[in-house]
Amino acid sequence: MPGIVIIGAGECGIRAALTAREAGYDGPITVLGDEAALPYERPLLSKPNSGGVVEKLIATREALDDMSITLETDVSVTAIDRDERMVVRAQGDPLPFRKLLLATGARARRLSCPGGDRARVLRTMEDARAIYSAAGTARSAVIVGAGLIGLELAAELTGRGLGVTVLEAGPRPLGRNVPERLASKLTTRHQQAGVEVLCGVQVASCTESDVVLEDGRAIAADLIVAAIGVEPNVELAVSAGLTIQNGIRVDRRLVTDDPDILAAGDCAAVEMRSGLHLRYETWQNAQAQGEVAGRNLAGGNKEFDVPVWFWSDHYEIGLQGVGDTSGQPAASREMGRDSEILFFLNDAGALIGAAGLGQGSAVAKDIKIAQRLIGTTLDPVLLSDPAHNLKKLLRAA
């Protein structure tokens, strides 16, 4: 009997499989992963401990067996046959499906300049092991891209004694998803640790020993890492004739043009309330969309409606953000010990996002409260007053 087939064994695919089973679906569930390793948590790859890369499984083989979920690792899916409702693998018979989930994720963008193949990327367990292994003998590292991954890695490598330079093409670090004020504080912390951050620079080439900029400067680099974002893995969807719009386009129920094919996680551009299709690349998004997809694969009719949330760790500092923090903050809450949260309101005065920076998890609690307050009209004066417990606002909402 054809069952549920899930392509992709990362956070999203595995979460969808577990959720479909928990939702009561009792047919076959097969997850196809392209890596040899059992499904693991990627956020830890940029946060190794003294023992090296931390390998944390999303689910053990036993846990999957207990749920009667079949996991195939190291599988290459070559095509989706929509007419026959089958998934074609490089080896073995075609696998029929009743419902199919594309949780194919994304892959790290690579440097396209001459010598760009010298640059490593950080996306998989294998990538992480190769980077930390190379860092063991390297004295200097250049990281291209001052996004969250690039800067987390900069903190890690400078902590290992390497001279680290971060190169950013844009006007400032973290320009895509962190408010300028917090990005600036975090950059200062990196500079205090000895990381050199150069913005508005373009890489011309990578040589045996250096990264050469377009202005002619050469920066010594025993180790080069490209942290310049990801490309969604949409090739299977393209060849199956599904609509692509910066990702596999899906509606609010995560359904593609084909009612029996869903997409979720890093690869999916999901319809928002605004009508826009947005694609997110956070761990929480993969988890939350995986849960919605799992319910809908099991026959549910759930809409995705969870504000995007992320965390990022640098040295002793924790950064968290939720919702839309792209505009100007309406309120700033200074909480001592260098902790600060910025709140973002829309024209009607309703909360649309918040982002904060502090020691360890100092801002976590208030960011979680902010997540629950999204959509609520709030007084910026109260938001700015650290003596006014945010939970009071939540109880009043």
């Binding site: 998890s361 976590a364 609690k365 979680k368």
Partner: protein, 103 residues
């Protein structure tokens, strides 16, 4: 032998909140429920090495500051992925305005 440890004053913890309590080389989390009852669990999440004291208490649930994992702090039961291992819990008694935990 288990001992009763004087951990904190009742009013050190706000209603529907928690505090961190370190004892020797161990760390605990002590909670005050909306019904004004007190509970105690291990201080770190079972998923990653994160102090729960920075997390959010809603009703009888503690949400880990990192991954949104949730536990029922009264029983230690893991309630939401990614956590799947329950938290250890410890007996609590209140005498006067002091909170004691048995560890």
């Amino acid at each position: 032998m288990a001992d009763w440890i004087d951990a904190c004053a009742k009013d050190d913890i706000e209603e529907e909140d928690l505090i961190r309590f370190d004892h020797g080389d161990r760390t605990f989390a002590i909670y005050r429920s909306p019904e004004d009852e007190f509970f105690c669990t291990d201080g770190r999440c079972t998923h990653e090495d994160v102090h729960l004291a920075d997390g959010l208490v809603m009703d009888h649930t503690i949400e880990c500051p990192k991954h949104n994992g949730q536990f029922d702090y009264r029983t230690g039961e893991a309630k939401r992925a990614p956590v799947c291992v329950n938290l250890a819990t410890y007996p609590v008694k209140v005498e006067g305005d002091r909170v004691f935990i048995e560890i």
